[in-house]
Amino acid sequence: MEEHVLVIFPHPDDEAFGVAGTILSHTQAGTPVTYACLTLGEMGRNMGRPLIANRETLPEIRKNELNEACRLLGIEDLRRFGMRDKTVEFADEDALQSRIFDMIEEVNPSLIITFYPGYAVHPDHDATGAAVIQAVRRLPEGERPTVHALAFSEGCEQVLGEPDIVYDVSEYSDQKMKVIEAHKSQTAGVIETMKKRFLEEDETMKERMSTERFWTYPI
């Protein structure tokens, strides 16, 4: 069992799709989870279906969705970094690494979950993962937490090999679906189809909702 888990992602809903079951397994076991969310997904294309947001109202809407997702996940320590969506890779790298480093020192996690830099598709994902890895490397060897990284770029398994951490989170599938649904502005267009496919035991959807996969990052 972990002592404290630190989850670091750039966008509200990054914690929903590939990680929600894992987070739930920790919080339900009584392990505290801190979630650092770097942006509010201000530049998202999805505006709800029917449209409920515009470019200027989206941040506040997503902030509320994020709060609700955290409540469902049992996350009591949410830290919003206040960066802007799409700009993480352009931010002052040293300043961002320092901010993450300070948080790691304060939270003292036994496990960090983030994106695998270079294999996480969205530039914000890659930049977040890279900043986290550099921040962890500032700690002396032997004092570094384990890092479980999420990768999903095309062909990533050919380079990284099979993920070494594969969790069966099927007991949390229903709650995970609710977390995804909580990000209404982003998922309203797909959630009904997802639920239907899940109920019909569609293999891909079942796999998506019940298995979560990570690579232990070679720190």
Binding site: M43, R45, M47, R55, E56, R84, K86
Partner: protein, 116 residues
């Protein structure tokens, strides 16, 4: 937002001619476009809080609409606009949504800076 009413928008636009404005202009095809379809060439841009004063502005087309603002030194051009609103802060917000309701373009004009 609501579907663009060209005449109504034109009136609101004309009122802003000569004013010093802050602009948010953006096009996007989504960060996952090339991930979902490797043959897709992904391009997009945004610029936020650039200041501009236009001499005259016009909205044209039958929907989706185009907008052109002529300034002393140049132009602002946008196409694919479908929806708009004047929000509570008196900002003119325009957006173009595709068939799935996803934002493809945004053009916003405000007398005060937008939050960074």
């Amino acid at each position: 937002m609501k579907p663009i009413d060209r005449q109504f928008v034109q009136e609101n636009l004309t009122e802003l001619a000569g004013e010093s404005l802050y602009i948010h202009l953006e096009t996007t095809n989504g960060a996952y476009a090339s991930h979902k379809d490797q043959s897709f060439f992904s391009a997009g841009t945004f610029i936020r809080n650039v200041q501009l004063t236009f001499l005259h502005g016009k909205i044209t087309g039958k929907g989706p609409y185009r907008m052109g603002l002529e300034t002393e030194q140049g132009w602002l051009y946008a196409e694919g606009l479908t929806d708009w609103e004047k929000d509570e802060e008196d900002r003119l917000l325009f957006a173009g949504h595709d068939a799935e309701g996803k934002l493809a373009i945004a053009l916003e004009l405000s007398k005060k800076p937008f939050p960074k």
